[in-house]
């Protein structure tokens, strides 16, 4: 009864059913959590903040702290300035953050609140203590998606803090790269850092939610955990030899902003998910002065070994992938590299580039594939009904489809509301690819075992 999706493709113009995206502010909130001692601040009705915190909590299994302007009927008519002033006062008096990262909502955008002007007013009224910062990003919910909101807040970090640094590095200084890691888990950010540091480079990663949303059980609730990029580090972005943007949608604009403000060249890469993406990431690090150590070559070799050992189970298998564009493109390449056939690729995030990139990755296989940006899961379900797949990759919202069509399903991306461990175990890098491959293999072979007639049900596969 949960399946309300008809087989014939419905012509739709005015409506989204079972979305494959959400709104900008939640992405901005997640990004802001990756600044050390930062309190994200939602300038809108209190429900927005509450929903975003709950949703992030469900994925990260961690308390998520953020404040809200708690708009009232009055603010929706006369503007939210009094709320933001009072809110900043409360925040700095009670919660004492180093940074407040304000993001807007559909409501405050529509009524036209000018955040820099209000923050300026707060400064004049001495609401913002000396040495504390308020940054902001405009994140109208009716433009883009959560990925765009994430990108906007990352960009804002660069525009508020990045500056040209004229002093030459000393010969003893380690070379520094800046990395915008994309809308990925803290486990992934931790792994990107490990890989980078293994090449001998120093890294400034922004945002960095490792140490914020993957903290150990200590018996205490720490309002501002140890992790997160510091303001000091952000001010020193100009010391980087390059800024690597991992993922075009989530990270590109921030890297461009660093380039514009601090004269640090940008490198736009895919997310380092799978073998190709990780290779290109490490090659870029090497190009920027890193040394690829034997240990990483060994990790790569192990991944290739696993791919070889299991290729027969993947070749020719049809896969549908949905979620955020940066994730989908990287996963598509990895599936393609494994010999699978990605037949349905769908993101809710708008952007013409998605289809172009997906087509490029698929090459000759693109001809038969359904590729759609600005889509929804109703459409994906219709595609799958019309052309079934062997495997579904995506966030938790795929489970309705997986059940209705009885498809093996591997959870990857954001949000994952019904499983745990993803915040601690990475998907990026060679080790992440090993984990991903092994989960995909488990899903395919569990299904094969389940469906095998008794005489074909075997111990060795």
């Amino acid at each position: 009864m949960l399946d309300h999706t008809p087989l014939p493709l419905a012509e739709r113009s005015a409506l989204t059913i079972n979305p494959a995206k959400t709104c900008q502010p939640i992405g901005a909130m997640y990004a802001a959590l990756g600044i050390h001692r930062c309190l994200p601040y939602s300038h809108g009705s209190q429900g927005c903040c509450s929903y975003h915190r709950s949703h992030l909590s469900r994925h990260f299994k961690e308390p998520v702290m953020a404040a809200t302007s708690s708009f009232t009927e009055g603010s929706s008519v006369f503007g939210g300035q009094p709320n933001l002033l009072e809110g900043l006062n409360t925040v700095f008096t009670v919660y004492k953050p180093d940074v407040v990262a304000v993001h807007t909502t559909c409501l405050s955008e529509t009524i036209g609140d000018d955040i820099p002007q209000i923050v300026g007013e707060a400064r004049r009224q001495s609401i913002i203590p000396e040495g504390k910062y308020v940054i902001h990003a405009n994140t109208p919910s009716y433009v883009g998606s959560h990925v765009v909101g994430f990108s906007n807040m990352c960009t804002s970090m660069a525009s508020y803090f990045a500056e040209r640094i004229e002093t030459k590095p000393r010969s003893t200084d380690r070379r520094q790269v800046n990395i915008v890691p994309g809308f990925v888990d803290p486990s992934d950010m931790r792994e990107v850092r490990r890989l980078t540091e293994a090449t001998g480079l120093a890294v400034t990663m922004f945002p960095d939610t490792a140490g914020v949303l993957d903290t150990p059980q200590t018996g205490h609730h720490v309002f501002y955990p140890e992790g997160g990029v510091t303001v000091e580090e952000l001010k020193n972005l100009g010391r980087g030899v390059a800024t690597l943007a991992l993922g075009y949608w989530a990270s590109r604009d921030a890297a461009v902003e660093v380039e514009n403000r601090a004269d640090v060249p940008r490198e736009i890469l895919d997310l380092p998910i799978g073998i190709g993406g990780t290779d290109r990431f490490l090659k870029t690090l090497a190009f920027r002065g890193g040394q690829i150590p034997k240990a990483l070559e060994y990790e790569r070799g192990q991944l290739v070994d696993l791919m070889v050992d299991t290729q027969q189970h993947f070749y020719g298998k049809k896969v549908a992938i949905f979620g955020d564009p940066d994730h989908i493109l990287a996963l598509t390449e990895f599936c393609h590299d494994l010999g699978m056939v990605p037949v349905h690729l769908l993101t809710g995030t708008p952007g013409k580039r998605f289809a172009k990139e997906a087509t490029r990755i698929l090459g000759p296989k693109a001809a038969g594939a359904n590729i759609q940006a600005k889509g929804d899961l109703f459409l994906l379900h219709q595609w799958i009904k019309n052309e079934p797949v062997d495997l579904l990759l995506g966030n938790t919202y795929g489970k309705h489809i997986a059940r209705a069509e009885d498809i093996p399903f591997v959870r990857v991306g954001w949000p994952i509301l019904d499983r745990a461990g993803h915040t601690l175990l990475p998907t990026v890098g060679y080790n992440g690819a090993v984990r991903l491959l092994s989960r995909m293999l488990d899903a395919l072979l569990d299904r094969r075992d389940r469906d095998a007639p008794e005489h074909e049900f075997e111990l060795v596969l």
């Binding site: 959400t22 009705s45 708690s70 009232t72 009670v94 559909c106 109208p140 609730h221 809710g348």
Partner: protein, 460 residues
């Protein structure tokens, strides 16, 4: 001592020995606080969402639809249209030029494809600001399709969930009374304010059936449009979760003369009290006899489980932070039955009377809070040496971080916690979390274990 936000001093109190407490509740959260509260839209969505054969269309940008998509149990014994997420997904051009056409097309398309019995259109924050005439669109579509199309005035900025409950009740009132109310027993009720999160309504309905009471409409759980349309034919409204549906009960009382009764189905005491109150209302001696029999039978089945669980829970300390104060009251009693002491109790939306009642019910010294926040809650949890936290989605990770056992008594519960059998489930769930071996590895408990050992050694 726990630091309480300036301006919140009068929203925190301690139960004394009979003294009156004055809680300054029912006010808007302070701007800039990390409030645990949600908005008006959320309140409306909660009440109407479980109507399973209606179309629920969220008119606004995508977020509001996403965050309320199948995130809470609203079990249906039949249609499941409510579990899909429908949004007009307004974009920038609609904010400039209006979203009326978008709304109308969406409604027409969805009603044609899914043939719902009614449609609810949720108005979100910006709709009023951009000036869409939602009422007019709903009227037009209702005429064209022949089903009720009901606007729900749930702009988030109106306030907290409470205002949303009222908007939902107003929407429901436009359905009630539009159906044929013939052939309904004189011993009949509507069930208001139970959301069938994990199948509770089915338990309650079964009790009522055994008592000889007809259920006309279970309005807010496993709900059906046609039942609600004839709900005015019922003889009595049962109101649980008083915050959400009292407005509907009052409106039905005023318009149709139907009396209502506040009930709680949670815990053995309150469940039994609810059933007796219903039987007494109908003044039917045989019904009362049947009820006595039912209560005795059910309690007999449940008590052994409670006793068994109590063994591991005796003397443990509990904290409660839930949406409505009525539930908090039942929880204090239920925990007492398990041998546990409530040392902190709070709600998002309680009234002064609720808090006064709590102050009288709880042991002296119990902390009572209104509209709390994570910093405050976690300080209290630590200071009061709490063993169990009963709360909702935002409280769970907080409890776990502190090394405190947790029971979700909100919409992420997976077992029915109402009715007599619900008490057994609650006991099992509390025991499972409090007595889990994982806590021994949590630093907080290691510290406590060392302290206890030292105490014992000193005593020796």
């Amino acid at each position: 001592m726990v630091k309480v936000l300036a301006g919140r001093a009068r929203q925190v109190a301690r139960a004394g020995s009979g003294a009156t407490i004055e809680m300054d509740c029912e006010k808007q959260s302070v701007s800039g606080s990390v409030s645990q509260r949600a908005c008006t839209f959320c309140g409306s969505r909660v009440v109407l969402y479980p109507i399973a054969d209606a179309l629920h269309l969220v008119h606004g940008p995508i977020g509001c639809a996403v965050y309320t998509w199948d995130i809470r149990g609203a079990l249906s014994s039949g249609p499941e249209l409510h579990r899909l997420s429908f949004s007009t997904d307004l974009r920038e051009r609609h904010v400039i030029f209006g979203g009326e056409r978008q709304l109308e097309e969406s409604l027409l398309e969805l009603i044609e494809r899914h043939s719902p019995r009614a449609a609810f259109v949720y108005v979100t924050c910006i709709i009023g600001v951009i000036g869409d005439d939602v009422n007019a669109i709903c009227r037009v579509v209702a005429e064209r399709t022949g089903i009720p199309v009901i606007p729900v005035q749930s702009e988030g900025f109106q306030g907290s969930k409470k205002q949303g409950y009222d908007a939902a009740c107003t929407a429901l009132m436009s359905l009630v009374g539009t159906g044929e109310a013939t052939g309904i027993s004189a011993h009949s009720v509507n069930i208001l304010g139970d959301f069938n999160l994990a199948g509770e309504i089915w338990i309650i309905t079964e009790y009522l059936r055994r008592m000889g009471v007809e259920v006309v409409a279970n309005i807010t759980g496993d709900g059906r449009v046609d039942d609600i349309r004839r709900a005015h034919g019922a003889a009595l409204n049962l109101v649980q979760c008083s915050g959400s549906t009292t407005a509907l009960a009052l409106a039905m009382q005023k318009k149709y003369g139907i009396p209502y009764q506040n009930v709680s189905y949670f815990g053995i005491d309150d469940m039994a009290a609810a059933l007796y109150a219903i039987a007494e209302h109908f003044k039917d001696p045989t019904m009362l006899a049947r009820t006595r029999e039912l209560v005795a039978e059910e309690i007999a089945a449940v008590l052994p489980v409670v006793q068994e669980c109590r063994a591991g829970l005796e003397g443990k300390r509990a904290a409660i932070y839930v949406g409505g104060a009525f539930k908090a009251i039942s929880l204090v009693k239920a925990l007492r039955l398990l041998g546990m002491r409530t040392v902190l109790v709070g709600s998002q939306t309680g009234s002064p009377d609720d808090y006064q009642y709590l102050a009288e019910l709880c042991d002296p010294g119990t902390v009572i809070v209104d509209d709390s926040n994570p910093a405050e809650l976690s300080s209290f949890l630590a200071e009061e040496q709490v063993d169990l936290f009963v709360g909702g989605v935002k409280e769970r990770p907080l409890a776990y971080k502190l090394g405190v056992a947790f029971c979700d008594h909100n919409h992420e519960r997976k077992l029915p916690l109402e009715g007599f059998v619900g008490m057994a489930n609650f006991a099992r769930e509390v025991k499972a979390s409090v007595c889990s071996p994982v806590w021994q590895f949590a630093p907080r408990h290691q510290v406590r274990a060392v302290q206890e050992q030292t105490c014992q050694e000193v005593a020796r």
